[in-house]
């Protein structure tokens, strides 16, 4: 309790000292006047204005680049949204009649569509049927 009170008093003193520091940095009127009426200060301002104006006129692309830089966050956000949408939507977006059943899924081998399981069975049956009469004939 006593420590807390001591710390509080110390903080108060430090705050008051801090305030006096802040007051101490204020310049005198003479100094302010000297800086404000410094020789050629206004000339330097006019030169700066002219230089910047010329720079802006001679390189309009700079202004375009600055505008583009401002647009970067917006473009990035849109790109992320587009990416997120393309990530989630395909499964929902494809019509049901175009979806292949698990056993009908088309497999490609070296870029050439392979036979589906059903096609394979059908062709095997067809091959068996064609083969059976030949066996009978023998």
């Amino acid at each position: 309790m006593w420590n807390r009170s001591k710390s509080h008093t110390e903080n108060e003193k430090l705050d008051r000292l801090g305030d006096s520091l802040l007051r101490a940095v204020a310049a005198s009127e003479t100094e302010i006047n000297t800086a404000a009426t410094s020789p050629f200060l206004y000339r330097r301002i006019l030169v700066q204005i002219e230089q910047r104006r010329r720079a802006a006129e001679s390189s309009p692309w700079l202004a375009v680049l600055l505008q583009m830089r401002r647009a970067v966050p917006v473009v990035l956000t849109l790109a992320m949204i587009a990416l997120a949408v393309s990530w989630y939507v395909p499964e929902r977006g494809v019509p049901a009649n175009q979806l292949l059943a698990a056993d009908q899924q088309q497999v490609t081998i070296g870029g050439i569509p392979a036979l589906t399981q059903e096609e394979l069975v059908t062709s095997l049956v067809g091959w068996e049927n064609a083969k059976a009469p030949q066996v009978k004939e023998r």
Partner: protein, 207 residues
């Protein structure tokens, strides 16, 4: 020798003897009347210098701030929509404070200013004074030179220093600082709280 500026033309079409308001001068300067901008500069250069001296101790730095602030103001004249009598002053002060803030941050980033380094004498003096203070001495009795005060304040984060100056020195309210800096009131409150702690920490090192 101080530079004297004699505006060739005061305001296009202004009646002789009429002292134009800031807003009238701004309107004329926007149309390219350089003399009007010259008058704005003459009127308010002391205000800008006074504000700049709060953050920078050297005259060259203050002149740089005056220069940069007026150049920025010139190119931002189209954005000025003030209507009140003091609007231009508030607007220019805002530009100046932002310019000071940018410069403080630039210095901090590049660590180009060693102003925070105290000489041995200064450190010894401060330690003695603060020991007296902790022993029950009077705060008001401590004479802190401007140079020493600048060095101590240079140890603060630019945000902290800015907020403390505006709060304690300019005596602005939280709402006014919030408007001036474009920060939320909550951020200004939080910053001022932190700034107070930081300043205590800086001073406590010498206790």
């Amino acid at each position: 020798m101080a530079e004297t500026i004699e505006p060739e033309v005061s305001l296009r079409g202004a009646a002789p003897g009429h002292d134009p308001t800031d807003n009238e001068l701004v309107a004329a300067a926007r149309t390219g009347d350089e003399a009007s901008f010259t008058r704005l500069f003459e009127r308010h250069r002391h205000l800008v210098a006074r504000l700049a001296y709060r953050y920078f101790p050297r005259r060259e730095q203050v002149e740089e701030i005056i220069q940069e602030s007026f150049v920025k103001a010139y190119f931002a004249l189209d954005d000025y929509h003030g209507e009140g009598e003091k609007s231009f002053i508030a607007w220019l002060a805002r530009i100046t404070v932002h310019t000071c803030y940018d410069e403080l941050r630039r210095q901090k980033r590049r660590s180009e200013s060693n102003i925070g380094d105290l000489t041995d004498d200064e450190a010894a003096y401060l330690t003695d004074q603060l020991h007296d203070l902790s022993a029950g001495g009077n705060v008001e009795g401590i004479a802190v030179s401007r140079d020493l005060a600048q060095k101590l304040l240079a140890r603060l984060h630019p945000d902290d220093r800015l907020v403390l100056m505006l709060l304690k020195q300019e005596e602005l309210s939280i709402a006014e600082i919030s408007e001036l800096l474009g920060w939320t009131s909550a951020k200004v409150k939080m910053r001022s709280h932190r700034a107070q702690h930081s300043l205590r920490r800086v001073l406590r090192k010498f206790l």
